[in-house]
Structure formats: C-alpha cells, structure tokens
Symmetry: C2
DNA sequence: CGCCGCACGTTATACGTAACACGTCCGGCT
DNA sequence: AGCCGGACGTGTTACGTATAACGTGCGGCG
C-alpha cells in the first residue's frame, strides 16, 4: 500500500482554490476577504477607458492540479521514493532498470515537473543565484549577464537578474527574505548599496569591479581597469598630447576612483603633462556640459578629453562640434567600455574595450567555486585599447614619435 | 508548555544539526556526510594562475543555522502558530496585544526572516512574476522593467527579469520547472519563443507588444505603435517628402510587421508617395549598410529614411555622411523609440518616443489584475513624435505647407 | 442557573520532495 | 549449514510555514 490511503487524513484540507473556475471571481479577489491587503492599491489613479486590448479566451485555465511525484509513482507502480531516485539519477543499484524506465515513461506521459518550491525547501538549496547590476548602464551589464548566465546554465544553475533600485527605493528591499530562494549573489560594486539585507543573510557574495579588500565580499573579480587606463594614457601621450582633461564619472564607485587615481599616476610620470578633472554624471547631456566647461575654461585648452565612459564621450563630441572644434584635428576624445554607441557616433570613438561577457563568465565561475567550498582565485581580466577616429596628434605637434597609433605603450 | 516538550514525538528525530553551534561546522556542511554530492564539480577546467584577486577572510561563514518561526515562538513564549499569525498580521482577535508585541520583539531580536521556500510551498503562491524581454535591445526594456518592478513592489510582488536566450539555447530552458516558483509571466512577444515550457505550465501570461489575438496570451498590452507610425508619416509628408525609404527591422515580430503595414497604408493615401523597403538587422552596422544600399540604389534617391529603431537611424546617419550627403538638408532620417542614442548622435534624431516605463507599469498592472482573477483591460498607450534636427523639407521642395514642424498631424 | 460565544491560544496537519533507515530475497562463500 | 552482502525496494521523516480545527476560561443573557 502506498500510504496514500492512510486513514489519518481525517481532517479536511483547506479550500484548494477560490471557487471561481471560469466565471467571475473578479471583484471579490480584488480587495478580498482577509488576503494580505495590498499595502496600498492606489494604481496611480488611471481610470482606464477605451479598452484597446486584452481578451479572456473562452477557456480560462482552471488551475491545473499539478501532478506530483506520487502520481508518477502510482502510475508506474512503484513508491514515491523510487520516483525520486530515478528522476534524480541516483538509482544505480537501487532500482531495476525495468522499473526505472517505467518511471521515466510515466513521468513523461503525465508531464511531470518537479515542484521547485518543495525541492528548495527540502534541499535547502535552490541552484539559483542573483546577479545585481546598476540600473544606469545597461548594455555593458546586459553582456555581463549573458556570460554569467551561460556559465551558470552549464552547471545547472539559474540566474536571476536584478537591476538595482532607483525608482524602487531600498526601503522596499525585495530580497529581505530571499535568502531561502538564492544560493549566492554576484554583484557589481556599483549596486552594492542595494545589498544590505542580502549581506545579513550570510549568502556568499562575489563582487564585480570592486575593491579586493571589500569586507562585504566573499571574493572579488575584476577587469584590469588600471591597465586600460595606462594604455589610454600612453596612447595619448605617444600622440603628443600634454594638456589633457578627464571627464570623470560622478559616481561613488571603486572602479571610477581607480581610473582617476591611475590616470593621475600615469601622467605624473610624463614630463610636462597637465591634467584637469571635471566630474559629470553618466549621461550624454552631462558629458556635453562638462566638455563645454573644460573646453571653454581659463588657461590653455586641453587637446584631449578622456571620458570615463562612451556615453560621456558622445556628449563631448557634441560639445566640440558646437564650439566649432573638429575631432580629432582640434581635440581628441576617448571613451571607455566600447559600447555599441562607440561606433554609432562620428567620428567613431577610440576607447577601451571591456570583455563584458568574459567578465560575467569569470564572475560566475568564481561564485560557483565559492559555493563548492573552494576559494575562488581569478586573475584580473585583460582589456584592450581600440584606436579609432576620435584621436590624433594635437594641432601644434611635430611628428610625435613617428607612430600615429601607440597601441603598444612601448618603453615602460 | 510550548509544544517542544510533547511526548507524542516518540520517534527519534534524525540528528537535528551537526553538533557545532559556533565552532566549526564549516567543512562538514560543505560536502557533508551524505549531503547531495555535487552532480559534477568540474569547474570547466580553467587552471587558475596568478590569483589577481579574491580572498577568503579568516572566518569562513559557517552556514548560519537560520532562525525559524519556532525559534521565535520559543523566545516569545508562544506557539509557532501564534508567531505565524502575528507576523502575518492576522491576529486581530486571536492573540493578545501583549503577546503580539512580544512576538514582534523576539522576531526582531533574533533577526528572523521567514523562509520563502517554505512559505511558497505552503501557500502555492510566490508573489513573484517573471519578466521576459528580448536580449537585443536593452535600454528600452530596462525602462520597461523599472516601471513594472515599481508597480509590482507596490503590490508586494517581486519581479524576476529574464533577457531571453541567445547564448543560452532554448534547449536548456531555465523555466522548465519554475512554475512553482512563479505566479505569472509578463513577456515581450519578441521573446515569446523562449516560453514554450512556461506555457505548458499553465501560468498566466500577459504579453507586451503582441498581437491581441495571440492565442498564447491571457491578455495583451500594447503601445500605440500604429499611431506613432502615422504621426511619423504625416510629419514627413507634411514637410514635402514623397520619396521615402523604410529601413525595416529584420525581426520576425508583430510590432515590426505592424509598423510596415501601417506605414504602407499611410503612404497609400498620400498622392504621389513612393516607398521602398529595405530590411536590416538591429545594429548600427546593418543600418549603415541598408541605408547605403537605399541611397545608392537605382531610381530617384529617397529624400527621407524611416528607420524602425534609433540604432538603425544612427547607422543611416553614418551612411549619409560617408556618401557626402548632409542630414537633414539632403536627406531626412527618423528613428523610433527615443533611446539615449537619439540625442547622442549629430544631428539629433527625430523619432517617436515610446513611454517605456508606463508600458511596464501597464503591463504589470494587467498581470496583477489577471492574478486577481479579473480580466485586464488596458488601452493602447499613446506615443509621441519628437521632432529634432534630423528632418527637414527635401531640397527641391517649395514651401511645403508653411509649418516646418508638423508635430500635429492635422487632418485625421 | 445553564450555556452561548468571545477572547486567546495551541495542536495538528499538509504542501511535495529527498534521503535515511529498514526490510526482503537470493546467490555464493567458508 | 550458516550467514554475509548486494540488488531492489518501501516506509517514514523532516524541511518551515500557514491555517483549519479544537480547547479553555469567563462574563453575560435568557
């Protein structure tokens, strides 16, 4: 007997579903009996009129009673435990091949799908990790996601993506209780402030693009941002530029701080080089404004603008054009990241290509390693300078060094 | 007596916890006694060298034994059920205010977080919905997400974002069993092919930007794309353009098909208007190529290029420049969507602004309505023509209609 | 005076799965 | 002959939560 017949199940179970199956449960469920009153169901007051869309087909799917492993067991003539073993692929010497096949057939016929909620509860693990990214810059992190998701999938993990709040205040932290639903977290340091609740839950946390000494992280994975900045500096110095301006992202983030620091250090070593820093938010408009400020400010006009981001560089391009300056003849402009934008503008941007997908892959590998208990050691990923049309020797320069393209820094 | 003392629990329960409470359960929990051997811990064989980052701090977080509602009950001197009632805010006449407060205090002191996996299993609902978007275009859907997540949060729901596969083949459908983890799905029709498994699970599905008659959807929510296209056509016709070219997104999608259809219809009504269609993938390079083809093709050169997307328009701008054509003097270019890119290029794009956040909000509201059992009726959201510098009367035009800016289509 | 119902709680399940701890044959070894 | 151990399974339990069902005293009403 398969225990499903047991008499102890005297008590009736709760009403499985609200009665309505097709008809009209509409209004009642709305501000229902006692069901968790929606904190406030304001709806921003859009009185809907003229229904332009939507349709409820005749057949309203009436809450299919999911088939459980016990159903499969019954159909295959075995115990529920056997089903679990077979479908879990650990039946080596525990179930006869014949019955195993019967189980698989029954599962297939019934369209059995294991209930993940139950499995998660039982196992205490979910094979799901969270990827937290800043909301601001989407293309780069979209690619990071792609790489991370690929690696995760290869290991049987799913990835939940969370573009960190902005409209959604941290007040309403969506992960207050999510620890039971997640095995680990991969997060950009730029979105780290959204992580307070997750930290306290003690989840493994691998941080991207963050200070290796960050106390919050179990491990960190980085791009070789400093190397990219040095390549950029060498490129411009090699072209003969000495008056530079840095359009610095006005974001409190480790990476951007590192860029500023590295750039400063690189120019300190170059005799006669001067650098002006101008902060700007990460938008085209802000880049335009900052570049305008720098190009029209007092003192000698910079001959090259290093922008922390391709978006800023696009703004700088516009500023130059409005001032009647040609790029790159009158002023050089560089970006960072190598987004699609970099080749959409005219001239195309000299920039630093960040291997976004590889970054995501490396981060996910590190996280999975941590979940396996091993320490995750990951070298900083190399980046690459991509010289395009937005940089050239400055107007007054002789023949700088004989190479117009100093992609290789040459003498250290 | 607080139920933890009950005699009926005669059977020995398995070792409740590995003995350690503070000391060292670390390794044991890892690949513990019999605990689920990791299916395969390959690590994809990247022999890590030169650890550039990562660090395992001295204290390895030893799998914190989560505090349960029973722990809270014990601390507060009540039963577990009472804890559930109090924290679930349904203790109106069931628990004395004093005890209720004690429960809340205990929960706070112990840092209790309800186990979502258990709650989900018990309730059969997760208060979580999935948002499926195409991987290609990120900025637009990032904004859709923002709107959707805001509405969801206001109703106590979480949103899981899934940029539909590409690198991740549909073969490895991440949602094969996720039905138990999700209450519903909001999906762009462009990503609908990733939904096979979800459909079969019978989850409520609200589709964005899709054919209202789509059988797969429980409901649909749309932008007034057709209206936008008509505004665009009226704008260009009003400026005097008669030779138009349509750079059509080479994507099999309802929205794009609708754009083509509507544009054709609009021009059919305009005497003397001719339209050429050129398909292109959604990238700058493809837009460049398609525009080049159209501008250098046989017959009279089009004076206006309607692009299905700002990205394509950026490519068209580049093509015109390379051919020595000025925009908008020699050729007008329009985009669609009004992405950040639209104002990053020179000249800035005349385009159709899609209210992405409102779109996400409307979609989520519709989905939540469906989950509440009500039919979701949503009017198509209005869109807005944004006239910028990339459009002007064609070279040979007299004085088109006296207004250079036909933002208001005039006669319907 | 008897009993209803309210205020206040507690007990007992069940959700669906994974896996531990037992059983039962049966062939083979000492 | 005794019995060990492998093959083949099944029974049972627990994961942590939400809630239906079941008790209690106690004040008031008929």
């Amino acid at each position: 007997m398969t225990s499903d017949k047991d008499p102890t199940r005297a008590h009736r179970e709760p009403p499985r579903r609200p009665p309505g199956e097709t008809g009209r449960p509409a209004a009642v469920a709305q501000a229902g009996p006692g069901a968790a009153p929606p904190p406030d169901a304001p709806g921003t007051s859009d009185e809907s009129s003229t229904p332009g869309t939507s349709a409820a087909p005749p057949t309203a799917p009436p809450a299919a009673p999911r088939t459980t492993s016990r159903d499969v067991a019954r159909a295959a003539g075995v115990s529920q435990a056997a089903v679990s073993l077979v479908l879990g692929d650990k039946w080596r010497g525990r179930v006869s091949p014949a019955k195993a096949e019967a189980v698989r057939a029954a599962a297939r016929d019934l369209g059995y799908r294991p209930n993940l909620a139950a499995r998660n509860l039982r196992m205490g693990r979910t094979r799901t990790v969270l990827l937290v990214v800043p909301a601001l810059t989407t293309e780069f992190y979209a690619r990071v996601y792609t790489g991370a998701a690929r690696v995760a999938a290869d290991h049987g993990f799913g990835v939940v993506l969370y573009p960190s709040p902005e409209g959604i205040g941290p007040a309403r932290d969506p992960f207050a209780s999510a620890a039971a639903t997640l095995d680990g977290v991969l997060a950009s340091s730029m979105a780290a402030d959204a992580l307070t609740a997750l930290r306290t839950a003690g989840l493994p946390l691998v941080m991207l693009d963050s200070d290796p000494d960050d106390e919050r992280a179990t491990a960190t994975v980085n791009l070789d941002i400093a190397g990219g900045v040095r390549q950029l500096a060498a490129h411009l110095l090699g072209l003969g530029h000495r008056h530079l301006a840095h359009l610095a992202a006005d974001v409190d983030s480790w990476t951007f701080a590192l860029r500023a620091r590295t750039l400063g250090a690189a120019l300190d070593e170059a005799p006669g080089a001067v650098l002006r820093r101008e902060p700007a938010e990460l938008s085209v408009a802000a880049g335009l404004h900052a570049a305008h400020t720098v190009l029209t400010g007092p003192g000698p006009r910079p001959t090259a603008l290093l922008c922390d981001d391709d978006i800023l560089a696009a703004g700088a391009l516009k500023a130059a054009r409005r001032l009647g300056l040609r790029v790159p003849e009158d002023v050089s402009v560089t970006g960072f990241d190598d987004l699609a934008l970099a080749v959409a503008v005219e001239p195309e941007l000299t920039t630093v290509r960040l291997p976004a997908e590889e970054f995501g892959e490396a981060g996910m590998r590190a996280l999975l390693a941590v979940l396996d208990g091993g320490p995750a050691a990951v070298p900083a990923l190399p980046v690459e300078l991509v010289a395009r049309g937005s940089t050239a020797p400055p107007a007054g320069a002789g023949i700088p060094s004989r190479t117009g393209n100093a992609a290789r820094p040459g003498g250290r």
